[in-house]
């Protein structure tokens, strides 16, 4: 794919974002954009600030400097509720599922913002509350079918193996019908079969639902296969930004990852 094939509408743009914790600078003047409908990979060595970048987009961290422009609206920082209601969903490196609930319930929580009935109706569980519950259950079951996790829907997620938990987490993010999906190392800890499955899901989500995806990933082959464009971070700074094959050939990127040999 060439750069012209992609849509030109910019869904998210971060400009000159800097984030520091005490004396440690996690992000230093990072700028890049994400276009609607693309799969954008964010890569870099450990500690480069990739997760921090997602946390900034999400609203968990507030940058000291810089702006975030989402769907045309520029702001200094995001708030988590704002991000959620504006159609941003994400998964986490260390799995942030609700361990006390079942798979089905976890994914149902993703529908939270789509459900509106008030306390009174819910207490009685008739009429509007019941209808809403059943409608959303249908939507969630479609996701369960898509991710092929029917067998575990009533199991408490705490008891599931790691790979399945990651899938459930993806399900929860998808349940919100997001416009922008942030995936933080979705393949971490998976074997090659699981990685293939996960890659297929990611591509399907992007092509069938048109969801824009920002993806942090360490596995280079996955990055090269899946992504449309790549941005590289190292020590909080931006090293490179471009198409996958350009990044792969970029000397600085190679040095950052593999180290420089001294003669």
């Amino acid at each position: 794919m060439t750069i012209d094939d992609l849509s030109t509408e910019v869904l998210l743009k971060v400009e000159d974002v800097s984030l520091a914790f005490g004396g440690v600078k996690a992000l230093d003047g990072v700028s890049f954009d994400i276009r609607r409908g693309e799969i954008r990979a964010i890569i870099g060595p450990n500690g480069a600030g990739k997760s921090s970048m997602l946390n900034v987009i999400n609203g968990f961290y507030h940058p000291q400097q810089g702006t975030i422009t989402y769907k045309g609206q520029t702001r200094k920082q995001m708030r988590p509720y704002e991000a959620a209601s504006q159609g941003i969903a994400r998964t986490f490196q260390n799995i942030a599922l609700f361990k006390g609930m079942s798979t089905l319930d976890n994914i149902m929580t993703g529908r939270n913002l789509k459900m509106k009935t008030n306390l009174f109706w819910q207490a009685l569980h008739i009429g509007p509350a019941r209808r809403e519950e059943l409608e959303n259950r249908e939507a969630v079951e479609r996701i369960i079918d898509f991710l092929d996790i029917q067998a575990i829907r009533k199991k408490p997620v705490g008891k599931l193996p790691y790979g399945l938990q990651k899938r459930v987490e993806l399900g929860r993010a998808l349940a919100a019908e997001p416009e922008l999906l942030l995936l933080d190392e979705p393949m971490a800890g998976m074997n090659s079969e699981e990685k293939e499955d996960m890659s297929r899901f990611i591509i399907d989500v992007n092509m069938e639902f048109g969801t824009t995806i920002a993806l942090i990933e360490h596995d280079m082959s996955v990055v090269m296969d899946l992504s449309d464009r790549v941005v590289v971070l190292d020590y909080g700074c931006q090293l490179a930004d471009g198409l996958p094959h350009e990044i792969r050939a970029n000397k600085e990127v190679i040095e950052a990852y593999l180290g420089v040999s001294h003669d």
Binding site: M101, T109, Q122, A123, L124, H125
Partner: protein, 358 residues
């Protein structure tokens, strides 16, 4: 073999989401309800109704309330006694001022008043978590008891500081105060528990319940599915205090008849209800009820065995009782931290196979 679900297929989500999808469960519930409402009031004598069933049911209501806050939403509260006092004093003032509204509406009103107070005292939960929140609720507990003790308006400037429940009737039968008919009181309280247990179940399996549990399990992640921690936590405090307030109102008006704040609603009450939900099972409606039954029945059983059975004097029996409660708490926490509700579920699992071993 008894408890098999084979052959019971659901072909729509509505059936799958029903409260008791398995037929055997339904039969048990119908049987329990039948016995509760149609059998017990005619079979049990006055002592059992008054000294055992009434406190059991009233505490079950309080335990339901606390479980909503602590078990489902994960906010630890040691202020239960204080909130029960709010319910009691509210219903007292209302009974004196507007008795014509009828007892049940007044109880519900006192629940609402307690919900408002509970929401106020729940505000710190936005900044404070875990233990620290428990200590903050202690502030509520001590402050409320002090207030009901000192501020004369609450007990109508009565010299002793006690409040006494005026007799109120329902369908021509007296249900409050010492003159009330035990059977009538029992049916009234049992109805409250049945209705509000159902409400609790409904809330738990709906959006609000899921949001509460999300806050409990990982409140940071909850934010990103669009849960506003403020609304979720305060709603938990509000609903929980509603239940606890009603329980307090019933405790005073229907069971005790008269009450003095430092005795009836002190910190030991808070601990007692907390023990009930821990032993019964956090995050479980059945657990709240089982826990209440356990903590009410056990001291009575113990006293009977010790005093009547072994002839121990009652002071010693009281000390042994305290030790036993403490020991049982520890034993439960070690053996089954998820409480009686979990034991019940395990028993049902075993019943699936019984009489086969595996």
């Amino acid at each position: 073999m008894i408890y098999r679900e084979t052959g019971q297929f659901k072909d729509n989500y509505s059936d799958d989401q029903a409260l008791f999808p398995i037929a055997q469960d339904r039969y048990v519930i119908y049987a329990v309800l039948l016995v509760t409402f149609a059998v017990v009031p005619f079979v049990l004598n006055q002592y059992w109704l008054n000294a055992v069933m009434l406190p059991f049911l009233i505490y079950a209501l309080a335990a339901l309330g606390l479980n909503i806050l602590t078990g489902y939403c994960g906010q630890v509260s040691l202020g239960t006694g204080g909130f029960m006092a709010v319910g009691a004093f509210s219903v007292y003032k209302l009974m004196v001022a507007v008795p014509e509204l009828g007892f049940v509406p007044l109880v519900i009103l006192s629940g609402l008043i307690t919900a408002a107070v509970g929401t106020l005292f729940g505000l710190p939960s936005l900044r404070i978590k875990g233990f620290y929140l428990a200590v903050a609720t202690l502030a509520a507990q001590f402050f409320l008891i002090w207030m009901f003790n000192k501020v004369g308006w609450f007990f109508n400037y009565n010299a002793t500081g006690m409040i006494t429940s005026p007799p109120m009737t329902m369908f021509g039968v007296i249900i409050t105060g010492p003159e009330g008919t035990p059977a009538a009181k029992y049916l009234l309280v049992a109805s409250f528990v049945a209705v509000f247990a159902l409400v609790a179940k409904n809330l738990a399996r709906g959006r609000i319940g899921r949001n509460w549990m999300a806050i409990r399990d990982m409140d940071i992640a909850a934010e990103l599915i669009g849960v506003r921690p403020l609304i979720a936590k305060l709603s938990a405090f509000a609903v929980s205090s509603f239940y606890i307030g009603m329980a307090g109102a019933l405790y005073f008006a229907v069971w005790l008849g008269s009450a003095e704040p430092t005795e009836a609603f002190d910190i030991n009450q808070s601990f007692l209800v907390l023990f009930m939900i821990i032993i019964g099972g956090l995050g479980s409606v059945l657990g709240s009820i089982l826990g209440a039954a356990f903590m009410v029945l056990m001291p009575i059983l113990l006293k009977n065995v010790l005093v009547n059975g072994f002839g121990t004097n009652s002071a010693l029996a009281a000390h042994i009782e305290i030790m036993t409660v403490g020991a049982l708490i520890i034993i439960f926490l070690i053996a089954e931290p998820h409480g009686l509700a979990r034991l019940w579920r395990i028993a049902k699992e075993k019943l699936r196979l019984w009489p086969f071993p595996y």
